[in-house]
């Protein structure tokens, strides 16, 4: 498939609109449990997934909705699954963290790092069966501190497995700043295992597409695994309702609940010396400041904004495309919510 910025933007926009609809359904209480959106990483997904062909596999983490959508899974089935309906993609059994599509060889896991071994197994099958199929593994940089992820990278390297490891680096491990808990950096970790690794700008879908295209060709030629380190932002943080983001967005509502017990505890007799306590306070303030200064708050890091800037000169075509995407996703949501709501 040839790269086309208009189609890429259309895919990214549909993904964003679908996930925004999911966020509303979650806010309305129609979707239960946690909700990890992939808003902000659309350029990564749209730059890679459309280039997959029949037989290729995907090992997905806990934010797999966009990858499944762009792979071709019916979005109504995805929404039905998230709504917990028996006619959902997985019969209401999986939910958003555990989406499976046998048809597209796509498996998700809510266990951080589990995509490593999964990708390894998919790729082993392709290698043994000589199918020329490849596997894409999507994971975050936090997963690189998980033993099984590093073990899988090593296994893929020594067995020369056709895996495109895609590290979506938003610099947060759940709600902890990744740099504070990680030694070295993702690129050198992959390289130290003999895996060729490159940095890609996750805001630019054309860059991701280009890097993926070259990589996929090499993987199909049997050159062994490759590693893309793609920086991105997650607009909603780790998951919807993430405390620190809530605190920054609605300080008046959220702060008293946090600050009052915090102050009481800080002043409580018995415990560490004042300096140690202060060091604790600094860590919390640091996390709040990191959230305030987080690159996700800068619109120039939003991949949709970046792509739109390039397309803007053709305002009419852009408008048409956006209207069409909105209409399409609007209809998907309408169809998904219609019928026998349980």
């Amino acid at each position: 498939m040839r790269f086309d910025l208009w189609s890429s933007y259309s895919r990214m926009l549909k993904s964003r609109l679908l996930e925004e609809a999911i966020a509303r359904l979650w806010q309305d209480g129609l979707i239960s449990g946690e909700m990890h959106l992939g808003t902000g990483e659309e350029a990564i997904i749209a730059g890679i997934v459309p280039q997959l062909v029949e037989g290729d596999a995907m090992a997905l983490d806990h934010r797999g909705t966009s990858a499944l959508l762009l792979r071709g899974v019916d979005p109504v089935l995805i929404l039905h699954e998230l709504l917990g309906r028996p006619d959902g993609l997985c019969g209401g059994m999986g939910g958003h963290m555990h989406l499976f599509s046998k048809e597209y060889l796509a498996a998700s896991s809510g266990i951080v790092g589990a995509v490593g071994p999964t990708a390894t197994g998919f790729a082993m099958s392709a290698q043994v069966l000589h199918t020329q199929a490849i596997t894409v593994a999507f994971f975050g940089e936090g997963a690189l501190n998980q033993g099984m992820m590093m073990e899988a990278l090593n296994l893929a390297a020594v067995w020369k497995l056709p895996i495109l490891f895609v590290c979506k680096d938003d610099s947060w491990s759940i709600t902890t700043s990744s740099s504070s808990v990680s030694g070295g950096d993702p690129l050198s970790r992959a390289r130290s295992l003999g895996i060729q690794a490159v940095d890609v700008d996750g805001r630019q879908v054309s860059d991701v597409w280009q890097a993926a295209q070259t990589s996929i060709q090499r993987l199909r030629a049997g050159e062994g695994p490759l590693f893309l380190h793609v920086r991105c932002v997650h607009l909603e943080g780790h998951f919807l309702g993430y405390q620190l983001i809530r605190m920054v967005r609605h300080p008046l509502r959220e702060l008293p609940r946090v600050v009052i017990p915090l102050t009481t505890s800080f002043l409580h007799p018995g415990g560490a010396a004042f300096n140690e306590r202060l060091a604790g306070v600094k860590i919390i303030l640091g996390a709040v400041l990191d959230t305030l200064r987080d690159p996700r708050r800068d619109i120039s890091n939003d991949p949709l904004y970046c792509t739109r800037l390039v397309l803007q000169p053709d305002a009419r075509r852009l408008q048409e495309l956006e209207d069409q995407a909105k209409q399409e996703i609007g209809q998907v949501v309408e169809v998904a919510l219609a019928g026998a709501a349980r």
């Binding site: 239960s32 449990g33 555990h98 033993g147 993430y242 505890s265 604790g280 919390i284």
Partner: protein, 335 residues
């Protein structure tokens, strides 16, 4: 008497213990954020965040415990122990026997567990039976704030590896963090007495392996832990109206199991129903049956447990986890 929420009580007992014993340290993913109140009182040396590296930090806690610290290792969910079970199965549980009883591992593994908020089958398991299967591990499951704080203190004083399970449906903090995320549009069937209750002014350690009779009854003994205790109590009220008098025994500890409390009650009622949010096969429910049989008692026996992978969809989840209706049906079938 003070009144506290479930997790608040655990943290309060933990703070009391930390103030008295400088060997106690906390560690786990996002712990500086999640236990921020302890962080600002005890400092970052004792309240530590970790990478998403369960095998490493659990394994490290075992050896840290062997060399002078008393670590409280925290996990997001018991399901994630699957990633690092070696630390418990082959390390923590084995040090004491392997060293000929000369070396012990005082360690508390604090893990949220169980479901009822629609988070799916990789995030809502209970798994206490799986853990209790391992000789050398103590496995506690409190069901009220008072027990939660008292058992946390007991776990810290125990001297060996203790898994302290925290049912998320009872925990105001975990339900907010993982369930509602600040939404007011979701409802959960939260047992009021498990969520909030009176706690002692100063925490005292509760005895480990001692069950508590939450409700007296003549016709049947319902044994359970965690949320199941509250479901059983609710069922017992319904059954009372039908003229069935059900005793509800809160086991509080899966390992060691209070065998004599189970046998004593079953000897009186002649019927045993085990309500277990953990999986049915090869677990607590079967163990209770074995205990009664080994004591030479004859009784009618039944169980209401989780039999399959827990579905994500709330209406399916409700049917799979033990509920009041299933408990009442099971009791009827034993009458």
């Amino acid at each position: 008497m003070r009144s506290m929420y479930f997790t608040q009580a655990i943290d309060d007992a933990l703070a009391q213990a930390m103030a008295a014993d400088p060997r106690i340290i906390l560690m786990g993913e996002d712990v500086p954020l999640i236990r921020r109140n302890l962080l600002v009182r005890f400092g970052p040396r004792r309240v530590r965040g970790t990478p998403i590296s369960e095998s490493a930090f659990l394994g490290a806690a075992v050896a840290a415990s062997m060399s002078g610290l008393l670590p409280v290792v925290e996990f997001y969910m018991v399901d994630f122990l699957g990633v690092c079970i070696d630390g418990l199965l082959n390390q923590a549980a084995k040090v004491n026997p392997f060293s000929g009883g000369k070396w012990s591992v005082p360690l508390v593994v604090r893990v949220p567990c169980s479901g009822g908020y629609g988070d799916g089958g990789q995030h809502e398991q209970s798994l206490w039976g799986w853990l209790a299967h391992i000789p050398g591990l103590t496995v506690l499951v409190p069901s009220t704030p008072a027990d939660a704080g008292g058992l946390m203190l007991a776990a810290l004083q125990h001297g060996g590896p203790v898994v302290f399970l925290e049912p998320k449906l009872l925990s105001e903090a975990w339900l907010e963090f993982l369930g509602s995320g600040g939404r007011r549009t979701v409802r959960y069937d939260i047992p009021a007495e498990g969520n909030k209750g009176s706690v002692p002014q100063k925490w005292e350690a509760l005895p480990i392996g001692k069950a508590l009779m939450r409700r007296q009854g003549r016709n049947i003994t319902i044994a359970s832990v965690g949320v199941g205790v509250h479901r059983a109590l609710e069922a017992a009220k319904t059954l009372e109206a039908e003229g069935i008098s059900a005793a509800v025994l809160d086991l509080r500890s899966v390992s060691p199991l209070d065998k004599s409390a189970i046998c004593e009650s079953v000897a009186q009622t002649g019927r045993l129903l085990v309500v277990d949010e953990d999986y049915q096969g090869f677990g607590l429910s079967g163990e209770c049956a074995a205990v009664v049989l080994e004591a030479g008692l004859t009784c009618k026996y039944g169980r209401v447990c989780t039999q399959t992978t827990i579905p994500y969809a709330r209406h399916l989840e409700e049917m799979v986890l033990p509920n009041v209706q299933r408990i009442c049906q099971a009791v009827h079938s034993l009458m």
